[in-house]
Amino acid sequence: MEAIRLEALSKKYKDTVAVDSLSLTIRKGELFSLLGVNGAGKSTTIKMLSCLTKPTSGNAFLGGKSICREPADVKAQIAVSPQETAVAPGLSVRENLALMCGVQGFSRDRKRTKIAEISHQLGLDSVMEKRAETLSGGWKRRLSIAMALISEPQILFLDEPTLGLDVLARSELWDLIRSLKGKVTVILTTHYMEEAEALSDRIGIMRDGRLLICDTAEAIKRTAGTDSFEEAFIRIVKEVEK
């Protein structure tokens, strides 16, 4: 069953084509990664899918709802963990989670239950009363994802979730992302090849706003004729240059 369908989705900024007629289908519960060099169009694609910016042409359907015609219905089923750590710095971890519950319109009981559930699920129990500004980068990312998950989204956008984290924090976050597989449709953007390879069911590689290839990591390596995923990525992206 499909969770997301993109139909010739395009975005132009004056003379620049950020996303060029992108068509793609992502299955429910799938962990899909978008890879590409800077300016490839990954973030613009995420912004369009999360209704932050309108496409110039084309359309996309999330859970059958159009981003152009039914943005409120789309917003009801998604959550975004932005590239930067988007938390309220002066609030405690608990208060940050409560803020998102309030923004989602949860009742008092549901708020209490969800906060307990998500803090346990993401291992935040030990830092619940700490202010977000005092947390390390890894904990902030974890909180950021918890704030996205607390709304029980069907589709979760993770934009560079492990950027700047140390090896241990990244490994812990990978475990967390893996645990979401099958339950939530996850769209991940990353610059780390090993991250995409380790976590994704399928990977789409973008360049200059276009989707160059979309397949499993193994299939992409086979297509590129190499055993290394990083090498496969480089070959595919450079092939377009020629």
């Binding site: 932050l52 917003k75 959550a79 988007a86 938390v87 710095p89 002066g90 923004v103």
Partner: protein, 243 residues
């Protein structure tokens, strides 16, 4: 519900910043006590409590502009707003969420200034209550200015423009610290076209029980508050779209 959750968060962010408390509450109180001490030694009509306190309660609001502008600019920088834009929150939720929590802070600042002034010898009359009530439209102007600055400036620019420029404008052109009639000329005319002087004179008139003088000063304050609120909403929505 959504707006209230957001407003609560904004109130907590402002109240938990010690610099906000120092400048928002401490600084006006220090000025009040200091000017009152000077007045005790060298009497100047401008610094009599009945004229000084209304001025300080208005001048103190320029810090509220700084607080709300800083909060919005930081939220824009941290991408927290970007996250919230992907929820079902409406533009009204955002604008009210940033505006409403600052209003009680403005009123509280005013009440505390009057409480200290009473301790220093200001007569306790019902006019003080009216002065606190009429600080609300003045506060709306200052908050709208903060919303506007926060929507277009970076967090660093907010510090310079709201922290230095605006508080100086609010001080020089309001007649709190010197009599504008003594300066006269263009400076006096400029002050009469801007809302700062009218806000101070409005509060002075209310405290003095000079109710006939309220409307001529209230109208320009309300006008500026309405214009800046509309501008702030337009610019906030524009940055919301651009982000």
């Amino acid at each position: 519900m959504r707006m209230l959750a957001f407003a609560k968060r904004n109130a907590l962010e402002i109240l938990r910043d010690p610099l906000n408390l120092i400048f928002g509450l401490g600084f006006p109180l220090v000025l009040l006590i200091l000017m009152n001490a000077i007045q005790s030694s060298i009497p100047v009509p401008l610094f009599e409590l009945s004229r000084l306190v209304p001025g300080i309660t208005v001048f103190g609001l320029s810090f509220m502009t700084l607080f709300s502008a800083s909060l919005i600019a930081k939220d824009r920088k941290s991408a927290l707003l970007c996250r919230l834009y992907t929820t079902k929150m409406t533009p009204t939720d955002f604008i009210l969420g940033y505006t409403l929590p600052v209003l009680p802070l403005c009123a509280a600042q005013c009440v505390i200034c009057y409480a200290v002034a009473i301790a220093l010898g200001l007569d306790m009359t019902v006019h003080i209550l009216y002065a606190v009530l009429l600080i609300v439209p003045v506060s709306v102007f200052y908050i709208a200015l903060g919303l506007l600055c926060g929507s277009v400036l970076s967090d660093k620019q907010v510090g310079g423009i709201c922290g230095a420029l605006l508080s100086n404008l609010s001080a020089w052109l309001s007649g709190v610290w010197f009599d504008l009639e003594l300066v006269g000329g263009f400076f006096r005319r400029l002050a009469s076209y801007l809302p700062f002087l009218h806000a101070v004179e409005l509060e002075r008139a209310v405290l003095a029980g000079n109710f006939e003088a309220i409307l001529p000063h209230l109208l320009p304050v309300l006008g500026y508050a309405a214009v800046f609120l509309i501008l702030a909403v337009v610019l906030f929505l524009r940055q919301m779209k651009n982000s």
